[in-house]
Symmetry: C2
């Protein structure tokens, strides 16, 4: 990601998300997504996919072609599947996404290590791909889980869930953590826990109220932007504006 971001001189990751589409609209969805990706590609360093596209289009014979398109444009492709299942299922999930060409998957550390996320890290190591972990999400309800006070099982000391997750991300060798751009003070705390080694990916800029400058100043390395670009009158111009704003704020 670091190399890619330097080559493209961009810290922006496009979240290629479209709202729910009815049966008829779905026919044009692949073409629509491909055309948007094409327009925005020069201004971003990676593209993040979510179920907005994998559910209506499928992966093989569907989203896989967008992943290949992203790679041809010099972008990395991240699958935001927020994996949180048992090990055997997580293994199957990771194998399928990596098989379709994704460079990294996003997983939820809440599921734990043994028979949980360890199998995903094993598949990732075997296939030389990435695993990015959630640390704090960008929506209001995140305070209930990510923001809750928990008692650390090893030390017995009270801590915040997101700090416990950040420590696990460091210990497990995650390739990045996700922290909402809507909570820059938590980006700062997590950055302090993780140091320079594990980059912070911050979603929630624009539509959700997060600011490019605040997130980067707090320590985010990449900004994930969806609706702000996807629904813009001119997505390429919007992406380029955000790219420049981020380069200035770095």
């Amino acid at each position: 990601m670091e190399e890619n971001s330097k080559n493209k001189q961009s810290s922006i990751i496009l979240a290629l998300d479209f709202p729910f589409q009815g049966r008829l609209e779905r026919e044009n969805l692949l073409a629509k997504a491909s055309s948007l990706l094409d327009m925005v590609s020069p201004h971003v360093c990676a593209v993040k996919f979510n179920h907005h596209l994998t559910l209506p289009l499928g992966i093989f014979g569907g989203v896989q072609s967008l992943v290949e398109q992203a790679h041809r444009s010099g972008l990395l492709a991240i699958m935001d599947c927020k994996v949180n299942d048992i090990g055997a299922t997580n293994t199957a999930i990771a194998e399928y996404y990596y098989d379709a060409g994704f460079d990294a998957v996003i997983a939820n550390p809440f599921v734990g290590w043994e028979e949980g996320l360890k199998p995903i890290f094993d598949v990732a190591a075997k296939r030389q791909r990435g695993v990015i972990l959630l640390a704090y999400m960008s929506h209001k309800g995140a305070v209930e889980g990510y923001g809750q006070t928990v008692r650390d099982a090893e030390t017995g000391i009270e801590t915040r869930q997101y700090l416990a997750f950040a420590r696990k991300a460091g210990k497990w060798g995650a390739d990045g953590v996700v922290v909402g751009a809507t909570v820059p003070e938590k980006i700062r705390e997590i950055r302090f826990v993780l140091g320079e080694e594990v980059p912070i990916y911050a979603p929630g800029v624009g539509a959700q109220g997060g600011s490019v400058e605040a997130a980067l100043k707090a320590g985010a390395r990449f900004l994930i932007v969806g609706r702000e670009i996807v629904h813009a009158a001119d997505p390429a111009v919007k992406a380029e504006t955000l790219r420049q704003k981020a380069e200035l704020a770095k």
Copy 2:
């Protein structure tokens, strides 16, 4: 589910899961899944799908045909997607799965209510479908998240995460909770919190070490069984044996 279970005289839910399949093997996967579903249908009350099938086959033009097959055989279809995203994404996920015919989706309460799970419950209410919440999973690592000690945000009192989840399931009007058959003592505690109103779905019987009798005696209403049936020499016989065992233990 209650009516379906009575009609079919079965408390067993088939988890129609196959391990990761390479490109060539994928061609036969739909036929294989359909044939297994056909064999096992008379002995179960519902079928639970996971990414084991939705990723390789896709939903529309793929798993959707299995959902329709399940309905023709008098079974309900549950999508075990363990949703845990922000509201806008959760809405799209729920809409697509319900659109494909699923009767219920499984979601993770860790994501919280506001801009989290509320939008899913809204879609479910609009479409008259179900939402089942995770309370405690069946794998070892579950102790890290589901088993952790948390401080209740409202009361300030320390509690276990899975009990907090069970209370939320009651408050939010969930149509069921998932509790691993591997932890019957937790089934008992959660049953005590939730009473008769919210049925407990227990996965982890067989391959993961859970017992039919222990899970039902502790208060589980439905048993979710995957590998134990799917990899059996005779899946129909295995499903019927489990069905009878469960009817006797109820």
